[in-house]
């Protein structure tokens, strides 16, 4: 009989991570669903979910969250793609450009929110620039709770500013894995830069784009601190509602209902992206 030398080794190495994830991931997930489908007394019912849906803030939160995502994602991807192409063009000191473009990676939601609050606030930098160029006579109150438009715009800018780096890096990595031969062949066959981007680069970048899109959208559904930092109570999003029901209103069940909704939306968007952008592995073969 052959002795199975170290056949158990990989499983032993995996075990701690599996146990950990079971305790701190799987279990809470299931619990969360349980909580959402209970009412305040702990009995099974959809009362908590109904409470969530009937709440005055619910529609606003849902709408704001979706609006933010719809605005943020395209802006970010266009920006990230541009940055990635610039990095890939290998300018002088490309290491420095990479560091600068990647700077926001270290910035938290909260800090980013405050930074852009600083810009949009009444006595802030945006007004300074606008007045300097003569576009306004007096400082404009952008961060006015009565004008959700500017609030949303500020949040969109803040989030775009903050989270573009992650996408850019994913795209740069994807770009670098495109064999030079393909691009050189395109050159030889007379492609302009725009054509190269549309017909060679973008298709081959699909897997990276898909991953980045899915990831970013899921994270965007959880936008929280940025909104609070910029808009205070002027805007609300799903995650903020979850926090409000947990902390202020002390109803974990409704909070869990919000959490479940966020998960549901994440799953739907993931499926949507997988459907809209199928990756074909044979593209690179």
């Amino acid at each position: 009989m052959r002795s199975q030398r170290l056949g158990w080794a990989p499983y032993a190495l995996l075990l701690p991570s599996l146990i950990y994830m079971a305790i701190f991931f799987a279990a809470p997930m299931l619990q969360s669903f349980g909580l959402a489908f209970q009412d305040q007394s702990g009995a099974w019912s959809t009362a908590s979910i109904e409470r969530m849906l009937r709440d005055a803030q619910f529609q606003r939160a849902l709408f704001t969250t979706v609006a933010l995502i719809v605005l943020i994602i395209p802006i970010q991807f266009a920006l990230a793609l541009a940055m990635a192409l610039v990095i890939n063009a290998r300018l002088k000191a490309s290491g420095l450009w990479l560091y600068v473009f990647a700077l926001p990676l270290g910035v938290s939601e909260l800090a980013a929110g405050i930074i852009w609050f600083n810009i949009f606030t009444e006595r802030g930098w945006l007004n300074t620039i606008l007045e300097g160029f003569g576009l306004v006579e007096r400082p404009y109150i952008f961060l006015n709770p009565q004008e959700p438009f500017w609030l949303i715009l500020a949040v969109v800018l803040a989030e775009s500013w903050r989270a573009t780096s992650i996408i850019m890096i994913i795209l740069v990595a994807g770009l670098q894995s495109i064999p030079r031969d393909y691009l050189e062949a395109a050159d030889v066959f007379g492609a302009t830069t725009m054509q190269k981007v549309r017909r060679v680069i973008l298709p081959l970048l699909r897997p990276s784009l898909q991953v980045a899109l899915i990831l970013r959208t899921i994270l965007a559904f959880q936008v929280f601190a940025t909104v609070i930092a910029i808009a205070g109570r002027g805007l609300t999003v799903l995650a903020a509602e979850a926090y409000r029901w947990y902390g202020d209103l002390r109803d974990v069940h409704v909070a869990a209902a919000y959490a479940g909704l966020i998960l549901l939306l994440s799953i739907i968007s993931t499926i949507l992206f997988l459907w809209l952008l199928p990756t074909r592995e044979e593209q690179l073969a």
């Binding site: 499983y11 700077l103 910035v107 938290s108 800090a111 930074i115 852009w116 890096i169 966020i262």
Partner: protein, 293 residues
Amino acid sequence: MTADARPLAAVPPERAPLRRRRAGRQRLVGRGLLYLVAALMALWVLLPVYMVTVTAFSPRDLVFLYPKSFIPVEISTDSLAFFANATGVIPALWRSVQVAIVTLIISMVIGAPAGYAIARFAFRGRNAYRLLILSTRAFPIVILSIPLAIAFIQWGIYDTIWAVALMHTALALPFTVLITSSIFVSVPRELEEAAQTLGSTPVGAFFKVVLPLALPGLAAAAIFTFVLSWNEVFAAVILTLRERTLPALVLTVLTQSPLPFRFAAAFFMLAPSLIVIFFIRKYLLGLWGRVVK
């Protein structure tokens, strides 16, 4: 270029250089445009950071200065000191450091072996495990924090750094596993085998050959985990009450805080991450490039 229908010899020599020059100039313009775009984007990234830094380094009353001046009127650590001395800030800062370090340690200790297993062994269930780990990245922290808060209350660790660290580790673990696995993959298996043929045990080969070579990448991954934990705010704010981490503390008092406090807070939260990202910048591409796979 279809203009080149004539054979080269038919082109009078004086004409040829002009075409080359024109093509060269086109390239130069294209290049220049590229630099311009790059500069604009760099400005887009740096300007907000600069702005908040200038504001944070102003004396308290000058924070309200309007119009703002791009050249700082007066540089002072007044606002920063005001923030640092505010109730609970230094302890919160310290707690953030502790949480980040604990997160880093636990996630590396649990995650690196798993990463090694994926990298080196072709075992049944390998792809399933990878898929599983990958999918956990997709789960919102929102949905985990709330039941965990309840669980932690029951276990008696609610409102401690352990609570936050354990939650952060769960967030960081998939990341750690996948990154360490691709770091280990980049160390050729033959090096371990060579060590074994030279008399080393498999474990010995890991420590003598793989670890030294993987160390820079592992360090970068660890630092990235640190930053992840340092910046995290939602779970921190749910899982703590009095023993807040810095982001949690700042968030809860934000709307009632005066502006100098806020901007100083942003700078405090910002600076360490920026410095750290600078140190691991070489590995950034490797880290996130790998994560995609």
